[in-house]
């Protein structure tokens, strides 16, 4: 009953050959989704966009409004050379990252708190929705009053913006946890903390990351808007200063930097997402399911 036959794999060498070739075929199919291919598509999209932009600029639309890729490039080089760009980017980046940090921490905390206390959540819900509905830019005077006009104010504004986005997504994630898994941990003698750490947190991770995805750009936007309220440095200031001096290329350089920061942070979150969701499979509807 306990005699062990060698696994099939080693028993028939020609089969194992066939298996190798299978792997290769699968590999080929997967090529379609290889980083190289995707990057080529992305590059193509980018190039088309730049060409269209350059073509429209001056011919159909006044460069005062849309500048042109070449002008933006020239301005970028100039500002990189004289250090302007880095100086402004640094400060905005700092505000954004700190804003993200505090916003994410507080949003997750509040999401868990209310997600696990349905009564509290229901009582607070209308207030949260109401506060959230107030445009923060309209509260500029209060922000100035409470947090001054320095970097604190900008971090607070970015944090507040981030907070709500993270909060709502965390809340949804927490509420979606599987009761059966919670029960399983309780059966193992897990206390509240264990249920949180072993079930709720992993279940809510996906939602939280969606929240972070959504929040990253808003952290940037929050910081920039705060810089438009009051500043003498930062990309928001650069946008404003360039706009008032009719330097449209300058505005676009600042926007370009913002979108690059957004893209990089997004890629970062993507890789965290990929890591934490390795246990999931991508859905396939199998429209073309040919073996």
């Amino acid at each position: 009953m306990r005699t062990t036959t060698l696994p099939d794999t080693q028993a028939k060498p020609e089969q194992s050959n066939q298996r190798l070739s299978l792997t290769r075929r699968q590999g080929e199919r997967r090529n379609l989704r290889s980083p190289l291919f995707i990057n080529v598509v992305r590059l193509a999209l980018l190039v088309v966009f730049l060409i269209v932009w350059q073509f429209l600029s001056g011919r159909f639309i006044d460069p005062l409004f849309i500048s042109s890729p070449l002008a933006v490039f020239t301005q970028t080089v100039a500002w990189i050379m004289d250090g302007t760009l880095w100086m402004h980017t640094e400060i905005t980046l700092q505000e954004t990252l700190l804003g993200l940090f505090f916003g994410i921490i507080s949003g997750i905390a509040a999401g868990f708190l209310l997600g696990l206390q349905p009564l509290l959540a229901e009582a607070c819900d209308p207030f949260i929705a109401s506060i959230y509905s107030i445009p923060k830019i309209a509260l500029a005077p209060l922000f100035i009053l409470w947090f001054g006009i320095d970097i604190q104010m900008k971090i607070v504004l970015a944090s507040v913006t981030v907070f709500f986005l993270i909060f709502f997504n965390t809340l949804a994630g927490v509420r979606n946890a599987d009761q059966h898994l919670i029960d399983a941990v309780r059966l193992m003698g897990g206390r509240y903390r264990d249920v949180l750490l072993k079930v709720i947190v992993p279940s809510a991770t996906g939602s939280m990351l969606t929240g972070v995805h959504i929040a990253i750009p808003y952290a940037l936007i929050g910081a920039v808007v705060a810089e438009l309220i009051a500043s003498n440095r930062g990309l928001g200031y650069l946008i404003d200063a360039s706009a008032t001096s009719f330097n449209t290329a300058g505005v676009f350089v600042a926007l370009l930097v913002l979108s690059i920061i957004g893209g990089i942070l997004n890629a970062l979150v993507n890789s965290i997402d990929r890591m934490t969701s390795r246990w999931k499979t991508e859905i396939s509807i199998g429209r073309k399911l040919i073996p």
């Binding site: 009953m1 306990r2 005699t3 062990t4 036959t5 696994p7 099939d8 794999t9 028939k12 089969q15 066939q18 298996r19 299978l22 792997t23 075929r25 699968q26 199998g286 399911l289 040919i290 073996p291």
Partner: protein, 261 residues
């Protein structure tokens, strides 16, 4: 040749990290039109994987599956497949779950309702129509899934451990119902079970799978029908077949990784 399902050189392997796990290796099998074929085999030997491939859900790594001499490339309407895992839509009540395949075929509301309620009655879920899946017991879930599969009256049935979670009595009733359905309609049934007795009571033919989908035994059951599940176990022929299948399973099991007790 009236093979309704032809499995030709089918292989399937999954990548587990770097390592390749070969689940089916060059498997060949033919299922004759109108036959009742039972598949048994050790846990993890690839029975469900095989059924997934036959149903057209999963692409094989190599080889081909033909249904009525046509290459299977996607699920077909003529095939009903009761998967091992229950896949009722959690947001639909029992009733609406059972109606779903009819809904997809565009059958009118009234017709749908009557077909569904008849089948819900047959599987003993009358009175539970309005419940959501999370409110059902394990066996009730299984029965609802069964009703859902049967409601389109498919020509060929693939069933992966359909009665495992049911009590002995109910199982007997549903086995009887299934046999009656099969006998009167000329359907083809491919049935996976872990219960050797069930295999013998139901099958024309029992296939014992071993490691990597290798066929250890392909045994035709010559017992006369109708077979009485209550008595059959005491027939000498039954005991003999039982022993033979048991031995085959033993071989199959030993092919697999050793279970260190």
């Amino acid at each position: 040749m009236n093979a309704v399902i032809r499995i030709e050189g089918v292989s399937k392997s999954f990548l587990h990290g770097q390592q390749e796990n070969v689940v089916l290796a060059d498997m060949n099998l033919e299922i004759q039109q109108g036959s009742f074929v039972v598949i048994v085999g050790p846990s993890g030997c690839g029975k469900s994987t095989l059924l997934n491939i036959v149903a057209g859900l999963l692409p094989a790594s190599a080889g081909r599956v033909y249904y009525q001499d046509q290459l299977m490339v996607a699920p077909r309407l003529e095939i009903g497949y009761l998967t091992q895992k229950d896949t009722l839509m959690p947001w639909r009540s029992v009733e609406r779950n059972v109606e779903l395949p009819l809904e997809i075929r565009g059958i009118g509301r009234a017709k749908r309702g009557s077909i569904a309620s008849e089948l819900i009655g047959k599987v003993g879920l009358k009175g539970y129509e309005k419940l959501y899946p999370r409110q059902l017991s394990g066996g009730m879930l299984r029965r609802a899934s069964l009703a859902r599969m049967l409601c389109t009256d498919p020509e060929t049935l693939l069933m992966d451990e359909p009665f495992g979670a049911l009590d002995a009595q109910l199982r007997l009733e549903l086995q009887g119902e299934l046999l009656r359905l099969w006998e009167t309609s000329g359907k083809t049934v491919l049935f996976v079970t872990h219960d050797i007795e069930e295999a013998i009571v139901l099958g024309d033919r029992v296939v014992v799978l071993g490691s990597a989908g290798g066929v250890i035994l392909d045994h035709t059951i010559e017992l006369a029908r109708p077979r009485d599940a209550g008595r059959i176990r005491f027939q000498s022929q039954f005991v003999e077949i039982h022993q033979r299948l048991w031995n085959a399973l033993m071989v199959a099991r030993s092919q697999q990784q050793e279970v260190a007790l």
